[in-house]
């Protein structure tokens, strides 16, 4: 019973995005954009001027909001805050690392697959750390 963590159900949860301009614009065309009464959006456009602190703060904000169920983050942006992404353990919101235009998806960097990798071989994990 102690291990049964209750899942927060929701009928209209949001998809948050931390990605480059084209990805965010495209996904907003699909209708996932949300702006609340306090003019807070569910997306952050990352460009050359965006700092790591901004990305960190936005990530923390999105992962603590109760109305967000999935956080999409470009993999190259996730690498900027890798320690934060890898230490995230909650089932909701689900963190998904997506490819961007200039950075294709690399399964070896995916946090979900990294967590499962050690089950198959301890040596491969050790060699990666070197």
């Amino acid at each position: 019973m102690a291990n049964k963590a209750p899942i927060r159900t929701n009928d209209s949860a949001l998809i948050a995005m931390i990605a480059d301009e084209d990805t965010v614009v495209g996904l907003l065309l699909a209708g996932v954009g949300n702006v609340d009464l306090r003019r807070k959006t569910n997306y952050l456009i990352v460009d050359s001027k965006t700092t790591v602190k901004q990305v960190e703060d936005t990530f923390k904000e999105f992962t603590t909001r109760e109305d967000i169920a999935i956080v999409l983050i470009s993999q190259y942006v996730a690498n900027m805050i890798r320690f934060l992404v890898d230490s995230y353990n909650n089932p909701i919101p689900a963190i998904l690392e997506i490819p961007s235009k200039d950075h294709p998806y690399d399964p070896s960097q995916d946090s979900v697959l990294s967590r499962v990798k050690y089950l198959f071989s301890a040596e491969s994990v050790a060699s990666d750390r070197r």
């Binding site: 049964k4 899942i7 949860a13 065309l29 998806y105 979900v112």
Partner: protein, 273 residues
Amino acid sequence: MAELARTDEIEMEVKKTDEMAELEVEENQWGEPIEDLEGEEDRNKAVMKLLDSMDGYLTQFNSLSSTLRQGWLDLASARHSMGTSRINYTLLDLKEHAASTSLRVISDDDDDDVDDSTRKQKPRFQLRKWGSLDNQTFSAEKQRSKEEHEESSGSLKQRHRGDSQLPECASKPDDGAQVQIDDKEKNERSKSLAMFGTLVSPKLRASQLSFEKAIEAIVEIANLRSEILAASDQVQRILEGSKKEILSLNSKRDYKKGVKETRALNEIEEPRD
């Protein structure tokens, strides 16, 4: 007196081996333990589930990559034909508005997990595209409700037999509802495109469809992520259980060896006395 003490010792050892024999694992002709087949099946099932969900996860990611690539290409083409200033993040609507496409999150029990005490709930995501449930999930739910209806009590079945027009009547409102859903989708799509102007390039519309498809893949990936995490937890628990089992088997085997050797020694020594 020494003989009495020795027989007492032998009796104590026999009692211990009898107790151990109750917990003993069967051995084959080579002295290797014969494993519990049911437990082996559960272990294999858990590992297969993990591998299947990982395979699905990677396949969906490949599909997402190609869909996103198509979307970016169409967006770039639209930007080329309409101009960079017309497709820009500065044009995004910052007025208060709710998302047209959202998610429904439900809790799903991990039924494949054999161990009730450690069974966890995992989230399941359903896409609500343009305000309604995704067509696929909607039809799946309809099928499930139909199956539940067929499996229900005999009185309901009798009603169905009596009223043959029921299924025909049921299909008509569905068609009407589907038309309404399609109209609603068209309106929402147009609203979404309207932030870039009234007349937009067909490439922008194509890009919108690509990104809609990408969202569907993303929701599927999120569900597979939940499956992977649940399955990996289960496999980890099995591994920990197997380690404990191996350690206890080894200690039992060592104890049995020691007892057999002691008995053999005593049998050799007894005739001397």
